[in-house]
Symmetry: C2
Subunit: 377 residues, 2 copies
């Protein structure tokens, strides 16, 4: 059976990317790899919409998140954290692990951030050294309007640190124009590459904070990593060259399509998926759905894990379940990266059949019809 990945990372990747990953490994100090590395950094800057030079780490996105905390702050620093799901909690936990003092703006998992309410809350917290945000909360499918939130931060000294792991290449992330100080991404999401490397973009203000940080780090040390990348066009340590080779190809594809078109495609992916599941009477888990992943409540009387199991077994389609407290309560359809109209129709067609198999009344074709209409011509 044809196997298809509809998880919010790892995602399906283009054949050209798979082939680049599957070449004999390059040496990480070769001229060939240097050129590739420079190209990857330049094309990441394009996706990040920054004049800066993003750094690449041989680590998952969580490692890159940790690098922000370890490099930008000092022990005891107060940081504000928006906590509205699994990944907001991760920011909080990393901050705690490093002896920072996180003050948390806690939201129900179903909600996106209300910028005004957040702004008022933040004003009451007194001085904070940083604000740690999640752009798309992958665990709930929620979009948090980072741009609007940032405009409500009065204290211009606070560093704005954004987990854009699932949003970069899906939603607009204007790193420089919005004044984001640190933005994190991973390779295996909208960047259409297998997992293995992650990236961080830093503002000038963030680089100043690096100078005063007193937290221990070596592998993720920004100054040393940046110096190697800038002066030698080389990673500081041996990196997953195969994955970087894949990323080089996938970033070229993003440039060819054009970032604006890529983001517009994700608007359609999100809207048509939501139209399709809406036609089936399914309810979105989040009140503020993002275009990277659609989180759904199962119909009454049908288990989310059953839906996932039938989709996988009968249709070769892997969607994600809930994480942590949401395990068994929701299922999530990823559509970030290398996905198009055909993929939306495919997953909805399989979902219709799956729900019918599980005894839920479905008007055959209703969801694909709605999705097709929403997609437009």
């Amino acid at each position: 059976m044809k196997q298809r990945l509809f998880a919010p990372g790892p995602t399906m990747v283009p054949e050209d990317v798979v082939q680049a990953v599957g070449r004999a490994p390059m040496h990480h100090r070769s001229q060939e790899f240097k050129e590739l590395y420079r190209e990857v950094i330049a094309n990441l800057a394009y996706v990040y919409q920054t004049e800066g030079h993003p750094m690449l780490f041989n680590a998952s996105g969580t490692g890159a998140m940790e690098s922000c905390v370890a490099n930008l702050f000092r022990r005891g620093d107060r940081v504000a954290v928006v906590v509205a799901g699994w990944f907001g909690r991760r920011w909080r936990d990393i901050a705690k692990a490093y002896g920072l003092e996180p003050v948390c703006y806690e939201l129900p998992d179903t909600d996106g951030t209300d910028p005004d309410d957040f702004g008022k809350w933040l004003d009451r917290q007194g001085k904070v050294r940083g604000v740690l945000l999640t752009h798309c909360e992958t665990s709930t499918g929620a979009f948090h309007d980072v741009h609007a939130v940032v405009q409500r931060i009065q204290d211009k000294d606070a560093l704005v640190v954004v987990d854009a792991i699932t949003s970069l290449g899906v939603h607009e992330v204007k790193t420089d124009a919005w004044g984001l100080d640190a933005v994190v991404c991973g390779s295996q999401k909208a960047l259409m590459c297998p997992p293995g490397v992650s990236s961080v973009s830093l503002s000038r203000k963030a680089w100043k904070a690096v100078e005063t940080s007193d937290l221990p780090k070596y592998y993720f040390d920004y100054k040393a990593n940046f110096a190697s990348a800038e002066e030698k066009s080389q990673p500081r340590f041996t990196v997953a060259t195969s994955i970087v080779a894949g990323l080089a190809v996938s970033l070229r594809l993003i440039r060819e399509e054009g970032l604006e078109q890529v983001i517009a495609r994700h608007v359609r992916l999100g809207e048509s998926t939501r139209a399709g599941v809406g036609a089936l009477g399914l309810r979105l888990f989040s009140k503020s759905p993002c275009n990277a992943v659609t989180a759904l409540l199962p119909p009454d009387g049908i288990e989310a894990e059953k839906i996932r199991a039938v989709l996988l077994k009968e249709h070769g389609i892997r969607v994600a379940g809930g994480q942590g407290n949401l395990q068994g309560r929701i299922f999530r359809i990823g559509h970030l990266g290398y996905y198009d109209r055909g993929d939306v129709l495919t997953v909805l067609g399989a979902l219709e059949a799956t729900l019918r198999t599980l005894g839920y009344p479905v008007k055959s074709g209703s969801s694909v019809h709605a999705a097709q209409e929403a997609w437009g011509s």
Copy 2:
């Protein structure tokens, strides 16, 4: 021109491994990946010669080294470090970055550790919480006899932490039998896989030390990573699934060949390479050469970097240069992992031709003859 990698990592990898890496990415929470992950951990334990369960990290070997420091020690802990090259210095620098107090047993880069001398030195240092060792010092081509060194450590409370990144699968590393508390390896060395993941094996004593460590960590947190691997047969965070898929294949190949045979093959690789370069009158840099990489001084009047350049340009062969203070002073032929007699003859044949091109008198065939003799039938 046929391209060949003779660097001490990344190394050449078997075609089956390349193909496994180049498959469409698996989901890291799939049943298929769980089974692969369990197999990889079990086969790593075989290579580590341990009853324990090595942990896998999506990071280079340096990240895994840092994980040892962050998880096993406390701020201010005194640790003894053998410093005899680039990677011994790395142990020292990581220890310093985390606020430990390294006391260094410094050797000339050309030397291996004399176990007796080290033992006497250590006895004079008073109490240390750990001893940080490098098994093969990749930067100098030196073998340090970790087994003999460990037998000279009187203080049985001190944790023995070994960088076996370039030695595991080359020399004997009897993790349990020798009482090694933490042993680090990477995927891109003798394990015959592209770079991207690294591993750490821990003793019971080390696990006890984890309980009392007060240093900040999150990504590399041993308890959380081990719990995920043990309880769920899953990596804690998204991992480079493509690289793990490659590692599964390469570890199977190591099991098929048998660890004893693999180590015996590396003895031959080391001895025949040394016999070959000896016949050319080249001098080894290290007085204590290892079987992973042969570090050589260029003949008088010929630059090491010239030799490397001609090998690459005329013969498609990439050997490594010197690192740090040894840059330009030596060149290093890697022969760890997927290498055999034919590879030794190939690199020596090219080296003969290269030296002749650069004006060094070579008796044609002398090095390949010597290597062939040393290899035996």
